[in-house]
Subunit: 289 residues, 4 copies
């Protein structure tokens, strides 16, 4: 799928049996394409998902949604339920946030993705969202995975920040084994011994590795992956270069005023510059963005 | 220096005082260019260092050296002293390896880089090598750093596989404080909780982060960084995309017969394909390779 | 509480404000004692929780329950819902397992503890269990924490295998802030870069550290903490020596035939030997077991 | 060797061939005892090594040496060469420090241990020291290991803070294969993802694990292992409980004025209290201290 991937093909690796038969590339050689409305994850186009960390208000969301669509994003993100380490932080608007998100999706024509944090909420979230996101902390919440699978909706499964590749693919296997083949993987940074300058360590190695291990599409989230807005664009560039099928980027009209993760959010202007920078790179790789 | 870096410049970060004043970008805003013969690390050209993990024989080295030069490498690598976890593994040819390396450098016209593992060897290695490499295990061997600094030769300082960015820059500071400004940093993968599918986790985030923290050039080694030949080309591509000033690639005429690290070595043919793939990417970024 | 702890008291540390005011020792200097029937966590007695990883059958459970009670355990454990990395592994008996557990508790007179994995199950599990266990993978499942808190039952909160001490105490804070003060912490090993010889790295440092940071009782699980039955007794000994308020030990009548975690389970005979070994140590520390 | 170890013996593990034949317990079932003057590492007595992080002055060292001897320490430690992350920190007194250390050893009758950081210094350090310490950063400095081995002196090999058990034993194998059987292992804490409250994570699991894997004696250093003086005594207690053959404790007459690692140093009074606390525990285990 890239200039380089074709070079790599000259060194095939013998692959032993994997404990995730449904997710395994060895057993399903062809790429899976997950269709969401008019958007295809795993196809020739690099899908860009953008929007705020959290839905905060109608104005904030609509303004951001219009801006990211204008810049070329094809999926809108926004959190209604936020998993927060502290019980004293903003926990999201809940159903009101879902309604606003659906409204923004309808207005912009963009499909929407949002996180479902708990089995109890699956039905509710599935009424509003086009793609269900399973967050990093919940990658091993197996009941939640099954409930989400049962909706039949596409599911974006973020990597646990402490999860091995094997564990991640086994969590995908939980969804696939439940009868829902529409799984998108999202690399979002792992926890290492060094978190002084960056929040996480974005693991771009996972992208070409997953391309060998699985047929599922892979999205990269450099916002959480680095935790620093000034590194997001460069790492997004790197993600596309190593073959990512999509990007997830946090964008806020006023990052300095965000209720959540402002330090890692691009302004709408920065996001536009990023999109412009990505186009020639995608073209070089025989893709578009 | 890249399409994307220019976008990033719009979000400057306030920087506190750093404990590495000589290495700090804040105190030395201009890029350092380390000149090695006709090769410049930190300039417009992405420098590609290639060659075998270990010097094994004249034939092996000469054949590989000619091939990597023909493919476009501008520096030749090869280990004469190998730090091996087991005392029962091949430890390198020692001075004989250094002689062969110098001979290969003379024959191909390429400057040579090789690892110096111990203070005792600094004088000897410096007689043969154009660049002294400090290996990952020795990043905190402070006497060795000072001895190497005293030769006045350029020094490529590999990141300890467990080292934080701060520790790495402080090790560079040891060299700079000794009066040798010719330091090249080399990211080569860190140790994380997951080493089932890859030997290390190549930390590409370090590249744009270091571009903010320091003025020193940064090289990326995807061979050690992944430990798998089938991932090397893609990660090299990613490294250039995120702004690396150079690459270090292990190449062997017969990877399957290498005495050291054969699993992560490219064949000469694969290396040629990689170089061909990198040229249009470098051009897109306003660089060459 | 120990010979040594009294020595340590001579070096008090100034403590900054903590983000977990309800859990913080600085704001609540006195030890919290969590009473479960006649058993007190956080008191003078070291509480030993024992039983099988999973409830497999009436015979297996009853035999094990009788044996651990005879050896001196005062709480019975057993999993009815098992979080399994693979969807193809035994997932537990569910409600049937809960019924058997309650029956075994009634027969032996031991209070029972079992894991609740999902918000949906909280009501059901709370009908059968005396203590609700939140497993390592769910330490940050915040809705589950709140639902469990709402039952008013004592909650044993296992440390996420990737969780910092700060994050762990913030998860406890979620429960406390919901109005349930009956929280027991359980250290069960963390994930590090080395998992060749042991499944996890049991972090005994957490025990005296938590004694400074929080007033909540702390239990240690050396079974998961090491993953090896031949290390369990020694690490249990160490846990008591550093001041643990309790132990959680997996015991199976036939470890070699266990459906889950047999490698880390003690036989009933080994468990009896462990209990005998612990008594003089506890006595030395002014405690009993 | 402990109440508990005897219980553990009931669960022998089949052991595959190890890559460290000389260090392997499987091939050398009997405990190695390393004799240093009248002190035996690996015997019935738990050896306590104590003294300052760095030799700072005659008065500081002599006062501390007398105090630790009076409290029951049987080996004196003190650093003359200090590996410091920053080139701007105190690097130790060098040869003057060695002379003071030898003088203090002679005056107190205690054998002395000190770190040798570089191959160049081995001869010099060996003239003054009874035991050569290889520090954590140098565990994989293989030439240094061989040079140290060649002196025939006992060698205390600290675990690299990033080293696996396998790598550690392979470093010991480098020394053993050089013909020096007098190797003492020292666990001193590993680097994990959490370093907010403690400097390192002391890995007490390593103690019983090493007792199975190797015949070499194992010492524990809770000073570096935690980095906090208020945790040292408790973790020392835990180390003895899990079977450590010795302890290494940093002691300073005025921890608040230490030039190095004052935060983790006990005062002489605290050290005396620790020794008093350890005696009944050792007695319980059939050992003395």
């Amino acid at each position: 799928m890239s200039l380089v991937a074709s070079a790599d093909v000259t060194t095939p690796r013998p692959q032993g049996a994997r404990p995730y038969p449904l997710a395994s590339r060895a057993e399903h050689p062809e790429d899976t394409v997950v269709q969401v409305g008019g958007v295809a994850f795993g196809g020739q186009r690099v899908v860009v998902i953008a929007g705020p960390c959290a839905v905060e208000s109608r104005e904030q969301l609509m303004e951001t949604a219009e801006a990211v669509r204008a810049a070329g994003a094809t999926v809108l993100r926004g959190g209604a339920y936020k998993p927060r380490t502290s019980p004293y932080d903003f926990q999201g608007l809940g159903e009101e946030g879902l309604e606003l998100l659906a409204e923004a999706g309808a207005r912009t024509g963009l499909p929407v993705i949002t996180e479902v944090m708990d089995s109890e909420d699956v039905g509710l979230v599935a009424r509003y969202a086009d793609v269900l996101q399973i967050g990093s902390r919940n990658m091993s919440a197996f009941r939640l995975l099954r409930r989400a699978a049962d909706t039949g909706k596409p599911i974006m499964l973020k990597r646990g920040f402490q999860a091995t590749i094997r564990e991640w693919l086994l969590s995908a296997e939980h969804i696939l084994a439940q009868g829902n083949p529409r799984v998108i993987l999202c690399e979002r940074g792992i926890r290492t011994y060094d978190s002084e300058y960056t929040r996480n360590t974005l693991d771009l190695n996972a992208v070409p590795l997953l391309a060998r291990e699985t047929h599922l599409p892979v999205v990269v989230d450099p916002s959480h992956g680095t935790g620093r807005s000034d590194l997001v664009a460069t790492m997004a560039f790197g993600a596309v270069a190593v073959g990512a099928d999509g990007l997830m980027i946090e964008v806020h009209r006023q990052p300095g005023e965000a209720l959540c993760d402002g330090k890692q959010s691009l302004s709408t202007g920065e996001f536009g510059a990023l999109m412009a920078g990505l186009r020639p790179l995608a073209a070089l790789l025989g893709r578009e963005v």
